[in-house]
């Protein structure tokens, strides 16, 4: 499950999932939930492949979201479906979506950047919990 939580000037993404792979996938979804008004308007018709290395889970989550934001900003892509395999030394991911089309996609927020502030990937009981604050 995922939610957007309050932060004075910005927005927080909070994701809970039984395993790391789905935690990262849902975090990706949560990012685009903040970017577009209605995520249902994005068609998963093109696929992007993302490979990242790193052994710190929190930095890996940061880098994953940062990479998605980079593609969204620089290549005008919007994503709505994710498959992620998290390893000890990095991750391999597939993200599906389509280029931004102003006629069909209403943007909600311009996410300036992913921040390190209170960045969290922790085990919470039976599940994983991730929290990230994005700068609006």
């Amino acid at each position: 499950m995922y939610e957007l939580f309050e932060h004075t000037a910005d927005l927080g993404l909070r994701v809970r999932s039984p395993e790391l792979n789905s935690l990262f996938a849902e975090a990706g979804l949560c990012l685009f939930l903040a970017i577009v008004e209605d995520i249902g308007t994005i068609n998963p018709r093109t696929m992007a492949k993302i490979e990242l290395s790193g052994n710190d889970r929190e930095f890996l989550l940061f880098d994953w979201l940062r990479e998605l934001l980079l593609q969204a900003e620089a290549d005008r892509m919007l994503f709505c479906k994710f498959e992620v395999i998290v390893r000890d030394d990095g991750l391999s991911a597939l993200a599906w979506g389509e280029p931004f089309d102003p006629a069909r996609h209403q943007l909600a927020h311009e996410v300036k950047a992913i921040t390190y502030h209170e960045l969290k990937v922790v085990r919470a009981g039976e599940e994983w919990l991730a929290e990230v604050i994005v700068d609006i």
Binding site: E37, R66, L70, E73, L119
Partner: protein, 487 residues
């Protein structure tokens, strides 16, 4: 998210000034100083911004005190509304978090020779034309496209690059902080990703708290200074609030990634990862400074192009040239920036890196960096408020140099989170509410108006009272919005 209240020590040490003693937290090298009155202090205790002021006090090379303006609120790493100065000679650091993602976010005020009576019957049309002329909102690209080489040249030259192409006049540069060009920037230190994000965004407003407002001079507090600034009662002006767009965000983001290992490499202990910093005289420090200065020049350029499009929109609506409408730039100030400036510290003049994150430079009369036209009275300081109440023009005063490294506040500061403001806006027609208060507003996104509604902000008048009484800057004129464009 429930945030713990600040329960640390806070001692009143002067008019509208409070101290967090350095004993409060391990690692603090200097005290924290917060400019606020009793009323604002009570609200400030409610989040972690004051703790962030204490965290900044741990940075190597910090001078005098970690400062916070009355519009302070919780940010990532540094609070918004924070000022700190570091001395490179004492291992002082540069911190991208002390500048913020939106490098050279700032404000400019454009005057007109029109008065409320000339505009009030055209305001609806004016707002509509401005809204359609000026690209705003998330993901909007602008009408100006620059290739990679041009974008880098633009970052090297600042607004002069576009003024040379007919999009402004030389006087615009004189009335821009640092003449619109911060020297010693290096556009080649800006990543290709950042250039790509910025190549079609110069001259776009963006979203978040950025805006363009048609305003009326509501009250004049200092007739002599107002005369020098060319402001009078009921005069119509345009305030533009935007920054360096995706290019600046990416420069900050790139630097934070590059600074990730700096704390360990340079043996700096940080209470918060987002405070990532590097000593000024290191490869990482030098690279960020060069890129940040280049991004700042892009920011000046963005506001120049926004002003040019505003001048064109006014000319369309009023059927006269912008020159004929007296659309001169009063001044342009940066409020997210780090600059190498000379300040007197314990009686010795030192060159220090002044980080202003949500704080405005406010140099007093006689300072050599104040443009000649204003040098006798001081630098104009432009303070945006919220879209329902007011914004301000202040003038820099002596106290800013003594107490705050030549700085003052930058705006109203948020009082509600974005999600709370959005929830609060459900079922309401905020544009209609604003209209009943005499403000015509248009926004690019549904979320925009609700999240930026007036009550989401502190009352800017309270913030301005604090800096006026603390002599960081003095009131000149209060501006009331009549037309608003939001991203």
């Amino acid at each position: 998210m429930a945030k713990p209240e600040f329960t640390g020590p806070l001692e009143k040490i002067g008019c509208n000034c409070w101290r967090i003693p350095r004993e409060y937290k391990a690692g603090m090298r200097v005290d924290g100083h917060i400019f606020a009155n009793d009323k604002l202090v009570a609200t400030l205790r409610k989040d972690q911004a004051l703790d962030q002021v204490a965290n900044v006090a741990t940075l190597p090379g910090i001078q005098k005190a970690s400062l916070a303006m009355p519009d302070i609120h919780w940010g990532y790493g540094f609070c918004i509304g924070g000022v700190c100065a570091t001395d490179p000679e004492e291992g002082g650091v540069i911190s991208p978090g002390g500048v913020g993602y939106d490098i050279n976010c700032g404000v400019r005020l454009v005057k007109t020779n029109l008065f409320l009576d000339d505009v009030k019957h055209h305001i609806r049309e004016l707002v509509k034309v401005l809204f359609h002329t000026i690209p705003s909102g998330a993901g909007r690209s602008g009408r100006y496209k620059f290739d990679t080489t041009e974008t880098r040249r633009l970052m090297g030259e600042g607004p002069k690059f576009v003024i040379d192409r007919g999009l402004g006049i030389a006087e615009d540069l004189e009335h821009t902080e640092s003449g619109g060009r911060i020297l010693d920037g290096n556009p080649h230190e800006v990543s290709d990703h950042a250039v790509k994000r910025g190549s079609d965004q110069c001259g776009t407003l963006g979203s978040g708290n950025h805006f363009l407002e048609v305003q009326v001079v509501d009250s004049v507090f200092d007739a002599e200074v107002a005369k020098v600034f060319g402001l009078e009662l009921n005069q119509v002006c345009v305030m533009i609030h935007s920054g360096s767009r995706g290019l600046g965000y990416q420069v900050c983001d790139d630097a934070l990634a590059a600074f990730r290992n700096c704390p360990a490499k340079y043996k700096i202990e940080l209470p918060d990862r987002q405070l990532a910093c590097a000593p000024v005289d290191t490869p990482e420090g030098r690279k960020y400074i060069a890129a940040m200065r280049a991004a700042a020049n892009y920011g000046f350029c963005n506001r120049q192009l926004l002003m040019h499009q505003t001048r064109e929109a006014f000319a369309t609506v009023f059927g006269r040239s912008w020159q004929n409408l007296g659309m001169e730039l009063l001044y342009d100030v940066a409020h997210n920036i780090a600059k190498l400036e000379e300040h007197a510290i314990d009686g010795v003049n030192k060159k220090v890196w002044v980080h202003r994150k949500g704080a405005t430079r406010a140099f007093p009369a006689g300072h050599p960096e104040v443009p000649e036209a204003f040098r006798a009275v001081g630098q104009p300081v432009i303070i945006p408020g919220d879209m329902g109440r007011a914004s301000w023009v202040l003038v820099g005063s002596e106290g800013s140099m003594e107490k705050a490294f030549g700085s003052t506040c930058h705006g109203a500061g948020r009082a509600m989170s974005r999600t709370a403001a959005k929830m609060d806006g459900i079922g309401r027609k905020i544009d209609k509410e604003l209209e009943s208060r005499g403000v015509i507003a248009m926004a690019a996104s549904r979320s925009g108006l609700a999240e930026e509604q007036p009550k989401a902000y502190k009352n800017v008048d309270d913030v301005v009272d604090v800096v006026h009484e603390a002599d960081l800057s003095r009131k000149v004129a209060r501006m009331r919005p009549i037309g608003v464009i939001k991203g």
